[in-house]
Amino acid sequence: MRPFLKLLKIVAILVWSVFVVAPFLWALTTSFKTANGVTNGATYLPWIDYEPSLAAWKGLFGSDAGSIDIVGPFANSLIVTLSASFISLTLGTLVAYGLSRFRYKLGPISNADLTFFFISQRIMPPVVLAIPFFLMLGFLGLLDTILGLVLVYIALLLPIAVWVMVDFFNNIPKELDETAIIDGCTPFEAFWRVILPNSLPGLVVAGIFCIVFGWNDFFFAFTLTFTQTQLLPVAIVSLNSSVTPWWSLSASALISVVPLIVVAFLVERYLEKGNISGAKK
């Protein structure tokens, strides 16, 4: 009975693992195909099922006819994601430290309400915000610009930064800042010199969350930009028409996803160290 159960367990994990990697393997093999490998039904193994070619990959970086510009959108995505993440992390860390260390009282509003206000923004369906954002950015002349997208992404990422950092700061003993203040630091110096240098793990987790959510957004980039500022997911989805060959589609999809697979490995190391308390609660 025992060895049978153990086998069943291994099979279950194996089946799920195959399901998890299948789309990536499919995209990888498709990216080396030419028309012959696609239009005659599904093929899987290079050299055996079809003759592999590097055409799709060359097309992503080349500038000849039929090539796809992926470098520009990639750079745009990088700029928007990193600047919005940096600003959100900065503002979010300040807010989180305030909420974790001081008592706020404004009529009936207290710390718990403020924290809830920040985090609850995640409940908002994107489509509810898309229409006012569209009108607002249009009014400010920021539609289809990097700056406009950064503003919008701050609204998406700030709640995440606050959420992770409040929890992180709550787990740092208050005696640490109190000692610093007795030693003559101002509250801000205590935060800057004592607490912040000890908060690297929390900052890394919050930063990764911000980057992943920013990089993965499609909807706002899609509704608030047209031609001047194209982000990577929008560029790839716009290829998703009947004219674009599957091999180019697959190669560009892989390019956009690879940075995140690298990030996944980094996150796992933090998970093993148990520094992701923010996500556990």
Partner: protein
């Protein structure tokens, strides 16, 4: 005291003001727009009272999209919970297996949903994709994945389960790893088998984190629209059109801004009420009964 107040504000105000400006202002603006007849021909805040809300009550496409959304969200989240918890239990006691599966299972939830949806669409292509290749191999013949309402709904759910089961897996595994050891030793001494131990010890101890994970997933899953846009575009017909996608079509495709705003406000209120009821009853059923 004066000094401390100043520092309190230095920390809180910048973030608070930014969020108020970027989220709260647009929200109030949307409520105002929902009472206007703003569209492509007559842009502006011309007051038309509750006309939009009256139209919405009779808009069966809107209400159908809500029931469709409910079906898709509840089915996906239930499957994700069962699969994620099952997988977490399988690797719980094996350190090496735990680390390998954790990296592997992290990948789907980190990758851009729409980009993976593009890949999934090629997989479910009816004549050229591997899904039907496999179905044929198993003797199911050619399945109309994207042209029959039922199958299109299943495809949407499969893609969601692929992407978000890892989230359940990670949270529940973290929960399992943080459980105290004593109750398990006690159960072993009492001679309880694995199934009794699960229902009497593991499951009740996991109730709080289960509720948290379910609520987060329900909130996130109810926003589903991007993958639907890519994979089915709401079709065939409107059979996979969720509420978010319908509002998007009305507002930013047909430019019936005023009407879309009234749909948005109604949708938001319904979501908040429904999610609060679900969250409260989950806490009642799972956490309270565990004690």
């Amino acid at each position: 005291m004066q000094g401390l107040t100043r520092y309190k504000l230095i920390f809180l105000l910048p973030g608070l003001l930014v969020l108020l400006a970027i989220i709260l202002f647009p929200l109030f603006f949307t409520i105002r727009v929902s009472f206007s007849g703003w569209d492509a021909i007559n842009p502006g805040l011309g007051w038309i009272g509750g006309t939009n809300y009256g139209r919405l009550l009779a808009d069966s496409r809107f209400w159908q999209s809500l029931s469709r959304l409910t079906t898709i969200v509840l089915t996906s989240v239930a499957l994700e919970y069962l699969l994620g918890f099952g997988l977490a239990l399988l690797v719980w006691h094996q350190v090496r297996l735990r680390r390998i599966t954790r990296v592997l299972f992290l990948i789907p939830m980190m990758t851009t949903p729409v980009v993976m949806a593009v890949i999934w669409r090629t997989i479910f292509h009816e004549s050229l994709g591997p899904a039907n290749d496999l179905a044929g191999l198993l003797g199911f013949g050619n399945i109309p994945w994207l042209t029959k309402p039922m199958w299109a709904t299943i495809v949407v759910i499969v893609v969601d389960v692929w992407q978000w089961t890892p989230f359940m897996f990670l949270l529940l595994l973290a929960g399992l790893l943080s459980l105290p050891k004593e109750p398990f030793l006690a159960a072993e001494i009492d001679g309880a088998g694995p199934i009794r131990t699960f229902f009497n010890v593991t499951f009740p101890a996991m109730a709080p984190i289960t509720v948290g994970a379910l609520i987060i997933r329900l909130i996130e899953a109810s926003k589903i629209m991007e993958t639907i846009y890519v994979i089915t575009s709401g079709g065939p017909g409107t059979s996979t059109e969720t509420t978010g996608y319908y509002i998007f079509i009305r507002g930013l495709r047909d430019f019936q801004i005023g009407y879309a705003a009234s749909l948005s406000v109604t949708y938001l209120v319904i979501m908040i009420v429904l999610l609060t009821i679900i969250a409260k009853s989950l806490v009642k059923v799972l956490v309270k009964s565990g004690n």
